[in-house]
C-alpha cells in the first residue's frame, strides 16, 4: 500500500508545481492545507472543483467511446468473430488500465524527470493524492491529479481500441493482448510525452495537437497499419481477380457504436480544455462542442455524397466512417476554427475516408473497420489543418510532429508485430478462421440461436 502523503501523479506543465510540492513533503507535509475546512466553499477552491468535474465527466464520456468502439467493431465483423471482438475489447481495457497505471502514466508525464531529456521519461507508477488533500497544496487552476490520470487513461485505452478493429477476424487473442500491453505501457506514453508531457515536440518544435489528432488517433492508426501489414488479409478477402466483401454482420450495433463515439468525443475534445474555472473557458468549451459536432456531421454528409457518387448507392458503413473521420479531423484543434472552417475540415475528412478505404483495399491491405482511414488519414489531415486557424501552429512544426510520431509508432509497432509473428504466431489457422474465432478460440457463439435450428 502506498503512503497517502506520497504523491506520484505528475503532469505536463506541472514540473514547477511538483518541485514545490515535493519540497513541502520533505518539510514534513507542513504546507498550507486549503481543503481541510468544513466550510461550505472557499472561492479559491471552486476553480479546482470545476476543472476536476470537467475532466472527470469528460473521462466518463471517453468511457462511452470505449463502449462505442466495442459495439462498432462487433457490428463490423462477421457473426463468427463477434464474441472474440468483444473479448478483445474488454481485454484491452483491462490491460490498458493496469499497465498505464503501473508504467505508462509515468513515462507520459515525467514531470521534468527525464532519462533522456524531452524524449524518455523516468519510470514511475501513478498513485493517489491523500484523502481530502490533507497536507497537500494544490494548483487551483488545474483539475485534481486523479481526474487527470483517469482522463489520460481513457485516452490511452482509446488508442488501443483503434488497433483492435483493424486486425479483427484473424488475430489470436494472446498476441493481440501482448501487443496492447506494449502499446499502452510503452509506445503510446513515450510518444505522447513528447507533445503533452513537456517533451521535445512541444518544447522544440511548437507542435500543436489539442486533443490528440496525431498523439492518439494517428498513433493508433500507425500501430494498426503496421498490424495489418504484418498480419496479412483475412483468408478469402482478396482473390486474384477481385475483392471479396465480407459485409458487416450487424449494422444497428455498428451505428450504435458510432453514435456512442460521437457523444463520447465531446468529452475527448472538451475535456482536453482541462479548465472550466472562468467565463472564457466556459465559452471555449461550448465552442469545442459546436465545432466537434459540425465537423462530425459534415464528415457524415460528405461520405454519404461521395459514396453515392462513386458507388451509385449509399453505404451506411461508409457514412459511419465519415462521421468518425470528421470527429478525428477536428480533434487536433476543435477550439480555434470558425464554424465554417470546422464544417470544411469535417467535409474533407469525409471524402478522405471513403477514398482511402478504397485505396487501401486496392493495395491488398485488409482493415476490417476502416481504422487506418478514419484515424490515421483523418488524424494527419486534422493535424495539418491546425495551421489554418491557430496562429501558434506552423506547418513545419506540425509536419515534424506528424512525421516523428508516425515514424516512431509505426516502426516500433512493426517490429513488435514481427517478433510476435515469429515467436508465438499472430494468426489462427486457416481452418479456424473459416470456422470463426468465436468457436475456435473461445468455444462460444455470440448469437447461438439465430439462423440455426432452435433446439439443436
Amino acid at each position: 500500500m502506498l503512503a497517502h502523503a506520497k504523491m506520484g501523479i505528475t503532469h505536463m506543465k506541472w514540473s514547477k508545481f511538483c518541485v514545490f510540492v515535493c519540497a513541502l513533503m520533505l518539510l514534513g507535509l507542513s504546507g498550507p492545507a486549503f481543503a481541510q475546512s468544513a466550510e461550505p466553499v472557499s472561492t479559491a477552491e471552486i476553480g479546482y472543483v470545476l476543472n476536476t468535474l470537467l475532466v472527470l465527466v469528460s473521462g466518463l464520456l471517453v468511457a462511452f467511446m470505449a463502449t462505442g468502439f466495442s459495439m462498432l467493431e462487433a457490428g463490423f465483423v462477421r457473426v463468427r468473430n463477434v464474441a472474440m471482438q468483444l473479448t478483445k475489447n474488454i481485454g484491452l481495457l483491462a490491460i490498458a488500465t493496469i499497465l498505464y497505471f503501473a508504467v505508462g502514466y509515468g513515462f507520459m508525464f515525467p514531470g521534468g524527470a527525464w532519462i533522456v531529456d524531452g524524449i524518455l521519461g523516468a519510470f514511475s507508477t501513478a498513485s493517489h493524492q491523500p484523502l481530502d488533500l490533507e497536507g497537500v497544496s494544490v494548483d487551483v487552476t488545474r483539475p485534481a491529479l486523479g481526474a487527470d490520470f483517469f482522463f489520460q487513461l481513457m485516452f490511452c485505452a482509446a488508442t488501443a481500441s483503434i488497433v483492435s478493429g483493424a486486425v479483427a477476424e484473424r488475430i489470436r487473442l494472446l498476441p493481440f493482448l501482448v501487443f496492447i500491453a506494449l502499446l499502452t505501457a510503452v509506445i503510446y506514453p513515450i510518444q505522447a510525452s513528447w507533445t503533452w508531457g513537456e517533451g521535445f515536440l512541444h518544447s522544440n518544435f511548437g507542435f500543436v495537437d489539442f486533443a490528440g489528432g496525431t498523439v492518439v488517433h494517428a498513433a493508433g492508426g500507425w500501430a494498426a497499419l503496421a498490424g495489418i501489414i504484418v498480419l496479412g488479409a483475412r483468408h478469402g478477402k482478396f482473390s486474384e481477380t477481385h475483392i471479396n466483401p465480407m459485409p458487416a454482420s450487424n449494422l444497428t450495433l455498428a451505428t450504435l457504436g458510432a453514435f456512442l463515439l460521437w457523444i463520447g468525443w465531446f468529452g475527448f475534445n472538451g475535456g482536453s480544455l482541462y479548465m472550466l474555472h472562468n467565463e472564457g473557458s466556459a465559452a471555449n468549451l461550448s465552442r469545442i462542442f459546436i465545432n466537434t459536432n459540425l465537423s462530425a456531421m459534415a464528415g457524415a454528409l460528405a461520405a454519404m455524397v461521395v459514396s453515392r457518387v462513386m458507388f451509385r448507392s449509399i453505404d451506411l458503413t461508409l457514412v459511419l466512417n465519415g462521421l468518425l473521420g470528421g470527429l478525428v479531423a477536428i480533434t487536433a484543434n476543435p477550439l480555434n476554427p470558425s464554424m465554417e472552417v470546422a464544417l470544411l475540415i469535417g467535409a474533407i475528412a469525409g471524402v478522405l475516408v471513403v477514398q482511402s478505404i478504397a485505396w487501401l483495399e486496392q493495395r491488398g491491405l485488409d482493415d476490417v473497420v476502416g481504422a487506418v482511414s478514419v484515424h490515421l488519414v483523418c488524424g494527419v489531415w486534422g493535424t495539418v489543418a491546425v495551421v489554418f486557424s491557430d496562429d501558434k501552429a506552423n506547418l513545419i512544426g506540425q509536419a515534424v510532429g506528424i512525421g516523428v510520431v508516425g515514424a516512431f509508432v509505426f516502426s516500433l509497432s512493426f517490429i513488435a508485430w514481427i517478433v510476435l509473428k515469429y515467436t508465438i504466431a499472430l494468426r489462427v489457422t486457416e481452418e479456424d478462421e473459416e470456422v470463426g474465432l468465436d468457436l475456435s478460440e473461445l468455444g462460444q457463439e455470440a448469437y447461438p440461436e439465430f439462423g440455426t435450428p432452435r433446439e439443436a
Binding site: H242, N244, P245, P247, F311, R312, D315, T317, L318, E361
Partner: protein
C-alpha cells in the same frame, strides 16, 4: 401418395397456402432456401467492392397428397405462384411409399 416439392417466390406464400386450403390440402411444410437458377442474383457494393449475390431467397413447400389430388394441387400452385417473371419457381413430384401420422399411428392416405 406423392410428395410435391415446390419452390416459390416468398411473397406468394400466403396466396398459395390459401388456395391449397381451398382444395382441401390439410398440411404442408415450408422452408427457407436460397435458390440458384436462371434468375441470377444481383450485384451489391460493400465499401466500394462489387460482388454478386448468386442466390435468391425462395421458399420451398413440401406437400404430401394422395394420388388423386396431385393434378389439382400442381395446377393450383402453378396458377397462384405465377407472376410471369423469371424466377417464379418449379414444381416437382416424387412418389411416396408410406405415410404415418405420429399422433394416431394412422397410415398412408389416412395420415395426410
Amino acid at each position: 401418395m406423392k410428395l410435391i416439392i415446390s419452390v416459390i417466390k416468398p411473397f406468394k406464400l400466403e396466396e398459395v397456402r390459401t388456395a391449397l386450403s381451398g382444395l382441401g390440402v390439410q398440411g404442408l411444410m415450408v422452408s427457407e432456401v436460397k435458390g440458384f437458377g436462371r434468375q441470377s442474383g444481383h450485384t451489391e457494393i460493400y465499401r466500394g467492392a462489387e460482388y454478386t449475390v448468386n442466390f435468391v431467397p425462395k421458399l420451398k413447400l413440401e406437400i404430401v397428397v394422395s394420388d388423386d389430388q396431385v393434378e389439382s394441387v400442381v395446377d393450383t400452385i402453378a396458377k397462384t405462384a405465377q407472376t410471369g417473371k423469371i424466377g417464379d419457381g418449379k414444381i416437382f413430384v416424387l412418389n411416396v411409399e408410406q405415410a404415418l401420422r405420429v399422433r394416431t399411428g394412422e397410415r398412408d392416405n389416412e395420415a395426410l
